[in-house]
Amino acid sequence: MVSSPRGHFDAENLWVEYSVVGGGSVLALRAVDLSVAEGEFVAIVGPSGCGKSTLLRVACNLVPPTRGTVTIGGRSPAQARAEHKVGVVFQSPTLLPWRTALANTRLGLELVRRTEGTRTPEEMLNLVGLSEFASAIPMELSGGMKQRVAIARALTLNPEVLLMDEPFGALDEFTRAALGQELLRIWQATGCTIVFVTHSIEEAVTLADRVVVMSARRGVVGEIEVGIPRPRGPLVMESEGWFAAAREVRKLLRGASAQAVRSEVTEGSPHNR
């Protein structure tokens, strides 16, 4: 495996198994192989329980792999975390309610106690378009605005890889579309690698260079190159390329679920083994 100097995300034969209270175990990830090039925007799509969030949690060093490895820029998740090469945005904004938007954006810098190679919170808040709301508290912000603060917070540490776990999942369609466009703009401005987990096929195809399809018991089912040229405006969802890519993704997902039903009938549920 070749390690590159910057922004390369790699999962190799990754298995994650949790032990369950009362004995037995749950297989969260099964033989996942994934490779993301520097500066690429990759979306991971799959139904609930396919382990896409677990993959991100392994990359953040919150969950240890049972087998296999994840490397970020050639480093292990623990190392990458220690060097703050990884930024994370969760589905809920996790803003501290007693801090203003600016203070929340600054939280990463405070915890890390480092200043070299970082960006100022004012700059990042400006990048996400919220500089007028710097002194607002989370209670006064909408869901979309809170998520933008969370993105700004992740960006202050200038990460090589930005891991996003269904960041727009709790928002309405219009806000999601607007924030998607914002994210593309921010991605062009910062040039970081983005691994974007979502359960929305439309969102994945609209935003990503490549869509990785996962399923519950089969790991990575396949990958689709989204051939739509950039920059992609809001009307991209009406282009032929978009429909073609979405069709391919859906085909992969259908095939995977059909396989899963077949294997359950013949082999039985893995929980009974």
């Binding site: 919150l62 990884v86 600016l102 939280l107």
Partner: protein, 270 residues
């Protein structure tokens, strides 16, 4: 368009502040009015049923008693206040230290929590004589009493509050390699703040009550001492006057906690 949103946002914030001041005036005005009406009703019943002053004095007689005995009443209230405040401080500090150690040292929690529960279930009136036997007639026994009262509710609430952080926020801190001290200072303590004040609201008045109960058992000074003494002297006016002072003292303690709660809840990290 963003400028317009900003101005609307500022107006909304100012408006919410202005409303609360007017509401506050209306509410406190109503409370005072209710008290005045009740006092008038009390006086009227006394006059109507011709209740003798040594059974139940009316508010006029009680205020007369307050005026005549102002000096000794205030000085004894000072003693009770000191006992309550010192016990409140000691009990709260011990509870805070214990709560933090419970959080980081589970064996200590397993060992000491049952002891804490046992201490808290002993009734005040039973424990007061024991404490006086051990610590004497003076202030110390009362301070120990009130510390014990103030300790348990604060401990329980603070432990709950420190653990009430949600997992995703905790994950966020871990992803940034936050130290335990950073997590405690920046996440757990602010989360526990409302839980702490919920307990302090209870213990602040309980401290005053506890000091008075301890004084009933055996003391030479304090509002509780006056209440017992005037019961034996059949001086109902002074008895009621002392009770009124006790109520005022407990209410004052409570109000201090409420004000501190409101002020600290408004504190925002910029």
């Amino acid at each position: 368009m963003v400028k317009q949103a900003q101005t609307e946002h500022e107006i909304a914030r100012a408006r919410s502040r202005r409303l609360s001041r007017r509401t506050w005036l209306v509410r406190s005005g109503t409370a005072v009015l209710v008290l005045v009406v009740l006092a008038a009703l009390w006086q009227w019943i006394i006059w109507w049923r011709r209740v003798p002053v040594y059974v139940v004095p009316g508010p006029i007689d009680v205020f007369g008693g307050l005026k005549d005995n102002w000096q000794p009443l205030v000085s004894n209230m000072g003693t009770t206040a000191l006992e309550a405040a010192a016990g409140f401080a000691v009990g709260t500090v011990v509870a805070c230290l214990l709560a933090v150690s419970f959080l980081y040292l589970p064996p200590i929690r397993a060992g000491l929590m049952p002891v804490a529960i046992a201490v808290s279930t002993v009734p005040l009136v039973a424990i007061a004589p024991i404490l006086i036997l051990i610590f004497g007639q003076g202030l110390l026994s009362k301070v120990v009493m009130t510390s014990m009262i103030c300790f348990f509710p604060t401990l329980v609430n603070l432990v709950r509050g420190l653990e009430a952080v949600d997992q995703e926020t905790l994950d966020l801190f871990h992803v940034h390699n936050a130290t335990r001290l950073q997590i405690l200072a920046k996440l757990r303590l602010p989360t526990a703040r409302p839980y702490l004040f919920a307990a302090l609201r209870v213990t602040s008045t309980a401290a005053v009550i506890g000091a008075i109960v301890a004084e009933w058992v055996n003391s030479e000074r304090g509002l509780g001492f006056i209440i017992i003494q005037e019961t034996f002297n059949f001086d109902a006016v002074l008895l009621w006057a002392a009770m009124l002072m006790a109520i005022t003292l407990a209410t004052a303690f409570f109000l201090v906690v409420v004000v501190l709660d409101k002020l600290s809840s408004r504190y925002v990290v910029h």
